[in-house]
Symmetry: C2
DNA sequence: TATTATTGGTCAACATGGCTGACATAAATC
DNA sequence: GATTTATGTCAGCCATGTTGACCAATAATA
């Protein structure tokens, strides 16, 4: 019997690449949700024991990465309002995780850095997340890691990607 | 002048693979943060106009993906408390995005599905995120997409990954 | 069958961390 | 010097997590 229906062989739409089917794009959405949920989960548990939350973690992480940064710097990275940041930051200063010094050039600025206590916590949290990445990277291999980095970089807003590249030259290799 | 310090040529630690250096793992952390932030940003804006939040989006997305699912099903996916879910869900039902029917086999259950209004919103939001993925995937190519999927899958908790595989067989190819 | 345990869901109250608005102070500009 | 701009704070609102107490339907068991 002849194959009357050509749809068995010829795709209905022009084939732009198998990874661009709706199903594959939805898989991207779902993997991002599940991976992010678990990626942050362990650190959240540690933070909860200390009476801190994910917002505190972000501040500690980025201040640790770039000591003596200003509040404004943090705001452009976190993309939250300075009022939101202020609450979290005040808490971290009060609890002795973060130290702030008045800026020499501009006295309005408060330069942020981690105390020893802050460094300890940062290391503990970062180690947790790094271990997860090390396991995943090991399981997948270098090619996959490169692809992972490439896709994530391209999910970032274009203008934002340029700004990040200027701030963190090694973020995109 | 002879090269006295060998650290210029010989790595301090055994070389487990270039993508497992601390720097690369931290890049993973940072890319996840920035990519997730922007990946959710556009949809958040649409939701905000409708007086909804990201929590509502998650419910709409997963109910759309699997109509007639129960509240319990949703809970195991979202990993939040049923009290949290209840508030969001009640709101969505009140606003006419979601319909709930009593379960036939078990009258305690309420089977969830999208109304036409809910379907419209789901499509609008999913399209936004799919477009972002389509652009990123196109820019990076199929190899990168495969690596992206592989790494994300391996970032998910192992037990959870098994459970997801059972629920969504096509999530991991 | 009657009782008990489990499962599915709701209501109330609290905490975190977003948000806006009003404001103080330092610096830059006119 | 007066105004404008930038940095940061305080107060209060809202969304969305949390726990605890509870009700109803079903399943398990004495």
């Amino acid at each position: 019997m002849a194959d009357i229906n050509p749809s068995n062989k010829i795709p209905a739409r022009p084939q732009k690449g198998l990874y661009l089917r709706k199903q594959d794009l939805r898989r991207g959405i779902e993997l991002m949700f599940f991976a992010y949920r678990d990626f942050t989960g362990e650190a959240d548990d540690v933070l909860a024991e200390l009476g801190l939350g994910r917002a505190h973690h972000r501040v500690i992480y980025f201040v640790g990465r770039q000591p003596n940064m200003t509040v404004s710097d943090l705001l452009t990275i976190l993309k939250i309002t300075k009022q939101s940041l202020s609450r979290v930051l005040s808490h971290l200063v009060a609890e002795g995780y973060i130290r702030q010094e008045q800026g020499a050039r501009d006295k309005r600025q408060r330069l942020l850095s981690l105390t020893y206590r802050g460094e300890d916590l940062e290391e503990r949290l970062t180690d947790l997340q790094c271990k997860r990445f090390a396991a995943a990277f090991s399981a997948c291999g270098g090619e996959a890691v490169a692809g992972f980095q490439d896709v994530l970089a391209n999910l970032i807003n274009e203008d934002e990607r340029a700004a990040l590249q200027a701030r963190y030259p090694d973020l995109f290799e």
